[in-house]
Symmetry: C2
Subunit: 212 residues, 2 copies
DNA sequence: CGGAATTGACTTGTGGGTAAGTTACCCTGA
DNA sequence: TCAGGGTAACTTACCCACAAGTCAATTCCG
């Protein structure tokens, strides 16, 4: 007789539920940022109640950490696997690897670089190693380009490199129709144009733009 | 004996107090972001109490808006004044103008691009015109570089350009010893190295993948 | 004395977090 | 085969900390 149906299992096993929560939370955290995302909203989107989330993930930070580590592992692995070949090719390969890795959940990038993370928090501390790992990959390429230059120049360019990557990913969020592959070629094309200004030069072919 | 001293003026005229509050608030908002900054903290740093701030600025958003507009006007004016000369020179001039304009309060940049602004909020809406104005300046240069290329390519590169600027400013925050002028020359030097890869090797060297 | 500067102490609202209970599944044993 | 108990899945209704925002009073200067 349709009692308010308080409590009672829905037959969803813990593992499946955790996965579902993780996916929704990653999207929510990625869009709104840790600061503005609310557990209640995540619970509502998942069609469950708050305490279930707390039962599985302990706390808001616990949930965020779970999302973060999944994303961080994926990205670091993907980028790590792309580190070979010449400097230029590696840049494009890195971008391609990132776009591909993010294809299933584009907002995962934002988890690592979430600017709304409270300063001096545990979540921020947890994000740092992943950022560091990614930055280190970039630093290798930067060293090859700038060589013996001022260490601060190298530091700045490294920072610029990953900010540019972040910016490309960000732009990607706003253009959902672009595939990962399309993004990679687009970036390669633009980089090419920057280094070798305005097209007319006849004898030159693009070296590695078609590698994706 | 030393009664808690409730109430009573300190002889600071409204105008001066407003200025002081603005400076502190801009720093606080710039560092922590709109979301994490608290009026109480600002009041404490200013050595005054919350109600005084509310008396002068109406609300948290009102205070933020005051900071935002001051910063936005300054930056747009400064960058606008730097838009002449050839494309390449204009890029460097723009950077230089930004660094110089930010010299007194480096965190002012973060006010325009604060990622912790609530989505769909009035503050975000107020920030957009400034972002737009700055982006439009960049778009001109991008059009000169990419010319007739795919509009999406232009859109992406414009986004990359201002993200790179933002990244440089960000790096600057972490290296307080650098003067504005030093930053400008550093950026110019790096850009030069990117476009014209390391002078020593006369033969063909791999072009960089840098997107700055 | 009048008004501007200023405050302690309050209310309010939001979101993280929790206690305690409810329902359904599953396994055992007779 | 079917009690019935144990446990996993789940909920309602609450608490509480913290930050935004307000009120009424109080002190000083001209």
């Amino acid at each position: 007789m349709a009692a308010p149906a308080r409590g009672g299992t829905k037959g969803v096993p813990r593992e499946a539920r955790e996965q579902q929560i993780l996916d929704i939370a990653a999207d929510e955290f990625g869009r709104a940022g840790h600061a503005h995302a609310s557990i209640a909203a995540i619970a509502q989107r998942a069609g469950i109640s708050k305490p279930l989330i707390y039962g599985y993930f302990e706390s808001k930070d616990g949930l965020y950490l779970a999302c973060l580590h999944r994303s961080g592992r994926t990205l670091v692995d993907a980028v790590g696997a792309a580190q070979n070949g010449t400097t230029a090719a590696r840049g494009v390969a890195t971008l391609s690897a990132i776009f591909t890795a993010l294809e299933p959940r584009r907002h995962d990038w934002a988890l690592l670089y979430d600017p709304t993370l409270p300063p001096d928090s545990a979540v921020l501390a947890a994000a740092r190693p992943y950022r560091r790992a990614l930055a280190d990959f970039g630093a290798v390429g930067v060293a090859e380009i700038l060589g013996d230059a001022d260490p601060l120049d190298r530091s700045l360019l490294t920072h610029l490199w990953y900010s540019a990557v972040a910016a490309a990913v960000e732009w990607w969020q706003d253009h959902p129709n672009e595939s990962a592959a399309a993004m990679a070629t687009r970036c390669a094309r633009i980089a090419e144009r920057l280094v070798r200004p305005s097209g007319a030069t006849p004898g030159m072919r693009e070296p590695s733009a078609g590698s994706v």
